[in-house]
């Protein structure tokens, strides 16, 4: 009954959200692939991307609103700035919170704790430096809704997110499948020790993996910021959901993360049709627990990276 009203609006909105989750989830899944560790600080990579995008856009146009080609250019610019911001933070994270522990062959618990520490450090430092109130980005395009599908007006930023995310996902898929870097990542994911015997520089591959995840996460931060603004605490919830998406698709599995993101985005919005919006996060969390109980290896299974 409750499915009839606004069905398409929620469905398409869910797909747009799903693309965002997929971008963030890839950061988890890539790092998981090479280290078999969950990067708890990925939410802060996302947040840094949001802030980097905001500051660049703000410096370029202030609060004026562009249109036409300028909108497209600004979105590309902001996404690129977010990607750079995310990549820098992800690299620093690897250098400071992970590499010293890896050198010492520390137990896994140590990695998780140090990542959580780094996450809280960045989270609260951003809160201190940028203030604890949110910033909203200027409107980057003159119209809020453009196309109409099934009688529903489609939000323009949904289209922006979907297109930007699709381009990045395709690029990433190609990078992992067909480049030297991708081969390195797959080799380390498969068997780090053997890879190092074959002349793969593990430290470098791991750093590059973090950077790659950071690029996607940071870009997602900016895309998220277009509609929701940026604030120091913006990372927590999307990152928790993206993690759910990564697990849902099969953690360590790149295509799984993309699929999981879309499924989660849609499922969560479908849940919201029937329950009040405050329960959205509870729906996502319920999905996570259900997946862990029923099929902990996810839809596509873990670590397809081994054979892909």
């Amino acid at each position: 009954m409750c499915f009839t009203q606004n069905f398409w609006s929620f469905f398409i909105g869910g797909i747009a959200n799903g693309f965002l989750y997929a971008l963030i989830a890839l950061g988890y899944t890539l790092v998981y692939g090479v280290l078999q560790l969950i990067n708890f600080a990925h939410s802060e990579v996302f947040m840094s991307g949001g802030f980097a995008g905001y500051f660049v856009i703000n410096a370029v146009i202030g609060q004026s609103s562009p249109h036409g080609l300028a909108s497209v250019g600004l979105i590309v610019l902001g996404t690129a700035a977010g990607a750079v911001g995310g990549a820098v933070v992800a690299y620093l994270l690897e250098r400071v919170a992970y590499r010293p522990l890896r050198r010492r062959k520390a137990p896994r618990l140590a990695f998780l704790i140090s990542a959580i520490g780094a996450s809280y450090f960045l989270y609260n430092l951003a809160g201190k430096e940028f203030g604890r109130n949110g910033y909203s980005l200027p409107f980057l395009f003159p119209f809020q809704t453009g196309i109409t599908v099934f009688g529903t007006a489609i939000q323009t930023y949904w289209v922006v997110i979907a297109i930007a995310a699709m381009i990045m996902l395709l690029l990433l898929d190609r990078i992992v499948a067909a480049t030297r870097l991708g081969r390195g990542i797959r080799a380390v994911a498969q068997d780090a020790e053997t890879a190092s015997l074959m002349g793969v520089n593990i430290d470098r591959v791991i750093a590059q993996t973090f950077i790659l995840g950071g690029i996607l996460g940071g870009a997602a931060g900016f895309l998220f910021g277009i509609s929701s603004g940026v604030v120091y605490s913006m990372g927590f919830t999307p990152a928790l959901k993206a993690f759910t998406a990564a697990v849902l698709g099969g953690i360590g599995n790149i295509r799984g993360a993309m699929l999981g993101g879309l499924v989660l985005g849609v499922a969560e919005n479908m849940g919201v049709i029937c329950a009040p919006t405050e329960w959205r996060d509870v729906v996502a969390f319920g999905i996570l627990v259900a997946v862990l109980i029923i099929r902990p290896t996810g839809i596509l299974g873990e670590r397809l990276g081994r054979s892909a």
Binding site: A110, I113, N124, K128, E193, L240, E278, D281
Partner: protein
């Protein structure tokens, strides 16, 4: 121009090769970060004021100076490090070597207990409140989380959720919630219910997730901690919603022969808390050296080996989780009935991380470490609040806590007062033997 670029590049390359230079750069960068951390805050209207105010200000030279000093210190350490390390270790293990005799140790513990009993009588009302709300409660929480993280090697990031469950079930059984219990109890008799509910929810959350790899447990508990807060905020009819619950009665005992009421004075709560802290310390220290404690150690050191030696891994993990949860539930009950008011905002994920820092800083698996670490880390920010230095602000506390976590893990993963066994495990893990945690289910090292 290109000559400059190539010179810079050469300098950079040679710098990369020299460990001294690299360490110097790390020291300077670290201290610059510290300068930003302790510097002024930014705001929406001036988003870079925090950076400019701390980096382009004369105070940055102080930090640069300290950075150079630190670098010199590290260089000295590298020259005579072995000797210093030995002295350091012998100082830190001094109490243990001096106290091989059980009786001597008991006397010392009794003396510490006496201090804990007498101390609150000689501080003012403000510090008495801090002693209960900030130090005592957190010492108890740290002791409880120590069982989960320290003994069983499981990472629980939603520990405060059980505290919330204890607090809300106290509110329920005392009739303070909008929904009414079958019979209204006074807060004292709600203790077993609070503990039981928290323990039960620990089992319910733990049973499905503890089968999986440990990092899933971490993220599920993190989500659970957040969900508890959302549920408490949104289930208006049951929990009172974001307004919170007020008028939770203070506990009182009404037995034939014993009549006592706890009121708003913090001291009686302090002593009630002290009784439970001491009871928990004694119980957990027995537990550590019992069959159960040995099973936890085995699971943490090598889960596969433990399983093949016939240890029911899941059972012992759930047991650790439930014991931790019930301790947290008791703390929640006590705090709810002391303050008489709870709201969902009291149970943030940040607090779960805070308790984790207390345990990690003190030393995983070490009861003394948990107590000392918690007492120190909870006392110090309040001291800073009373005597503000460097413009210390409440909200900045978590920046330092995050940094403490990272630095502890890098430089002293076994914590301030390490448990002997834990320290050995970290050492062994570094040589590729065992795992020192129950995170993986396998012994795969991190590449």
């Amino acid at each position: 121009m290109s000559a400059v670029a190539s010179t810079t590049l050469t300098l950079f390359r040679s710098a990369k090769q020299s460990a001294h230079v690299r360490r110097g750069v790390a020291c300077i960068l670290g201290l610059l970060v510290l300068a930003v951390m302790t510097g002024p805050s930014g705001s929406n209207t001036a988003p870079v004021a925090g950076f400019t105010g701390s980096l382009f200000h004369s105070r940055v030279f102080i930090f640069l100076g300290i950075g150079v000093g630190l670098w010199a210190l590290i260089t000295v350490w590298n020259l005579w490090g072995e000797a210093i390390r030995r002295t350091n270790d012998s100082l830190l293990t001094l109490p243990r070597r001096l106290l091989p005799d059980r009786r001597v140790r008991l006397v010392i513990y009794a003396a510490l207990l006496a201090v804990a009993i007498i101390l609150p009588l000689h501080v003012n009302a403000f510090w008495q409140d801090v002693l209960v709300d900030q130090i005592g409660i957190y010492v108890l929480l740290a002791i409880g989380l120590n069982v989960v993280v320290g003994y069983a090697g499981l990472l629980d990031l939603g520990y405060i959720a059980f505290y919330a469950i204890g607090a809300y079930s106290t509110a329920f059984w005392t009739g303070a919630l909008p929904v009414h219990p079958p019979m209204v109890l006074n807060a004292f008799w709600a203790i077993p219910f609070a503990i039981g509910t928290a323990m039960l929810s620990g089992v319910l959350i733990g049973a499905p997730t503890l089968r999986l790899r440990g990092d899933y447990l971490a993220i599920v508990t993190l989500g659970f901690g957040e969900i508890i807060q959302i549920v408490a905020t949104n289930l208006q009819g049951v929990t009172g919603g974001s307004q919170g619950v007020s008028a939770i009665p203070h506990p009182d005992v009404n037995l034939p022969g014993i009549h006592y009421s706890w009121l708003i004075d913090p001291l009686p709560y302090y002593y009630l808390l002290l009784v439970f802290v001491v009871a928990a310390l004694i119980a957990y220290s027995f537990l550590e050296h019992s069959r159960v404690g040995r099973a936890w150690t085995a699971i943490r050191e090598d889960e596969v080996a433990a399983q093949s030696s016939g240890i029911n891994v899941l059972k012992y993990k759930i047991m650790a989780f439930a014991i931790g949860a019930s301790t947290s539930g008791f703390a929640g009950m006590l705090e709810a009935s002391k303050i008489s008011f709870i709201e969902p905002g009291d149970f943030t994920v940040q607090l779960s991380i805070l308790i984790l820092v207390l345990v990690i800083f003190g030393g995983m698996g070490s009861l003394l470490g948990a107590v000392v670490g918690a007492a120190f880390l909870q006392w110090f920010p309040w001291y800073l609040k009373e005597h503000p230095m460097f413009g210390f602000q409440d909200q900045d506390l978590y920046i330092y806590l995050g940094a403490i976590l990272v630095l502890t893990m890098i430089f002293r993963p076994e914590g301030l007062i390490p448990s002997r066994r834990r320290k050995r495990e970290f050492g062994l893990a570094e040589h590729g033997l065992g795992t020192a945690d129950a995170m993986s289910g396998t012994t795969d090292p991190v590449p």
